[in-house]
């Protein structure tokens, strides 16, 4: 075992924190923190990231369980969406009289 492993055996895992700032909105990633377990992670998140009433709901996920897309494949992952303009509402020509759509 390396010296480093011995020294850092007590390092708490890293957690990613997501906060819903008010009802009706998505949880948004706000940062990360260390905690020994999930319950502590939620409590730490409350103390660290909502000191100024920034949230109504908290998600935490241990960082190691987060799967990320490979940025080098971003061309194949996201660019195809560029030409699917029909997914966007402004693609459609509608009469001006039409409201609330």
């Amino acid at each position: 075992m390396s010296q480093q492993e011995t020294e850092h055996k007590s390092e708490w895992p890293l957690w990613e924190v997501f906060i819903r700032s008010k009802a009706g909105l998505d949880h948004k990633h706000v940062g990360s923190l260390h905690a020994a377990d999930a319950q502590m992670a939620i409590e730490n998140a409350r103390d660290v990231y909502t000191r100024r009433m920034e949230g109504v709901s908290i998600w935490v996920v241990e960082s190691k369980y987060l799967h990320t897309s490979d940025p080098d494949e971003s061309a194949s992952m996201y660019e195809p969406a560029n030409d699917k303009i029909y997914r966007h509402p402004t693609f459609y020509n509608l009469p001006d009289e039409l409201k609330h759509m």
Binding site: W12, H34, A36, Q39, M40, E43, N44, D47, V48, R51
Partner: protein, 273 residues
Amino acid sequence: MSVQKLKYILQIADNALIMGHRLSEWCGHGPILEQDIALTNIALDHLGQARSLYQYAAEQFNELPRAEQEKVFTSPALQAIIAGGQPIDEDDMAYLRDGWDFYNVLLVEQANKDWAYTAARSLYYDTFNYHFYTGLQNSNDETLAAIAEKSLKEVTYHMRWSSEWVIRLGDGTAESHKRMQEAASYLWQYTGELCTMVETDKAMYKAGTGVNLDELKTKWATAIGKVLDEATLAQPEEGWMQQGGKEGRHTEHLGYILAEMQYMQRTYPNMEW
């Protein structure tokens, strides 16, 4: 307005101030950044409670007849303000009273020592506070009832924090178990006072303002027993209980706390900061 009521408010306020003071000593020295922040939040809650209560206590005091005012607190600094005919405020309450006019329980002035002592002290006090504020919500004094309702939300979180830490340390490593047991057992002698009715408590309970502490005893003991059990800790042995804080007789710790806390106001009187 009665002196009894003033003293009752001060009991609650002094508990909050001294507890907050002790917890604030951890700021910058905690075992990990996240917990440094968590404990400071709790310290800020206590300080906030203390301020609301001191403001109310000052109001009560200012309404007393002059002759009564002169008898309540003996410190020359406060006497000077009274002699000048000035109303007193939250800061005068915190910074100009002498030790024997502080009515906090002995438990809250005990030293931080380490994380286990801090957690045990918090567990004992938070659990008491939770049940106390629950009862105080029904006070016939609207201000106290309102403060209790607001504080209860904070205290519920405090109790969760301290229970979890006592359990974690008790059921953690061999070392943490040993330390946690030592702290829980040592501080036990200061817990008897929490639910003991002194004259002020009895009078205020009778008046419909205060909480019946006799009823709290079992609730407190049951809650503590559950946490200690889950923490795999032995219930401390019943023995002699230290008393006196609620009547102004303190441990040596309070003198040092006040010397530090009151130094500015005492050294530079009558100034705005």
